[in-house]
Symmetry: C2
Subunit: 200 residues, 2 copies
């Protein structure tokens, strides 16, 4: 900690206020009640709650749940500058990494240096999907929009003409974090096709 | 775990979908950008992120951060049924506990029994403010709307005619969880008065 704890706290508060912008970054997924688009802040909360409920289904027997939550609380912050890239937008995904790295540098740079470095490392860990915690976090991040899409008659899929095979290809890595959740999700997708909510 | 893991997972997913409703429970506080009312899901995410940033300022030297996050992720779920009670609404606060207990019974009752009991216990721990973790969680829950109010020219305070002495009386327990945060907050309130954003 630097010599002036008040200055440190003021800097931390500045970061907290800046990331309030996450509440205005809208996703393609709809919320189940009013059917408006979900924002990244709500999405992040819902993911973290899912972790508490579903952690027992993780492939890793000794999952560090706190680490998973830390990653998910910050995983979308880069979208404040880089915007949300729809999972099935191949053009947007081409320069996504570059845009998001710039955003990470600016945003985590608002924090005291030690904390900025910690947050940046958590974000990189999430992106790399090389640890059990990152794989489970990524599984939740992919399962969540599928679940909301199924609960809203496939609204986002149908709007963008996304087909069953693309949803499977993009999301099957859920199994790397939680086999049981992927088995459940695959069944949910078959049901969505049967109901006409997801083109075959 | 019960004998049928698929049935357990289906029940957990049912709970996750039900609590999507938290995204439609609106608070008096405004978000800083578009100045619309904040909802409980966004608020919960923002609180959890604040915990990651500010945990070092907790009075308790060995705070269990995971426990704090668990409490904050679920602390407002009861408002899905009971609605949001404005911090300065004395009438609404009279039967708040009764309404919220009924909500806790219904919502946590959607989960498998062992998990429902765990979540209920976390909610009661948060409400009772008797542990270091609950006191820090409560400190974040009180500091957050103050911060957003200060960043939106005191919109919610001015709308409801809330005065500086009432804000101090309602929020000074922040010091029980984090002295340094309360010192900072008290300064922020004095500044809000000086700027005419909070009636003296």
């Amino acid at each position: 900690m630097p010599s002036d704890p008040t200055a440190r706290l003021a800097r931390q508060v500045g970061f907290i206020l800046e990331v309030d912008r996450l509440k205005e970054i809208f996703r393609q997924t709809l919320v189940t009640q009013s059917r408006r688009q979900e924002n990244d802040a709500e999405h992040s909360w819902h993911l973290c709650l899912m972790v508490l409920v579903l952690a027992e289904h993780a492939n890793a027997p000794d999952l560090d749940v706190l680490r998973v939550l830390k990653m998910l609380l910050i995983h979308d912050l880069v979208e404040i500058d880089a915007g949300d890239t729809f999972a099935y937008d191949e053009t947007g995904r081409a320069d996504q990494r570059e845009r998001e790295v710039r955003a990470a540098e600016r945003l985590f740079g608002l924090l005291p240096a030690d904390q900025g470095a910690e947050f940046r490392a958590l974000w990189e860990e999430f992106e790399a999907r090389a640890t059990a915690e990152a794989r489970f976090a990524a599984a939740m991040d992919r399962f969540h929009p599928m679940l909301l899409n199924c609960a809203t008659e496939g609204a986002a899929w149908r709007k963008h003409g996304v087909t069953h095979d693309r949803v499977v290809a993009r999301n099957r890595h859920i199994a790397e974090g939680a086999e049981a959740v992927w088995t459940y999700a695959a069944g949910m997708l078959r049901e969505a096709v049967a109901r006409g909510h997801l083109p075959a």
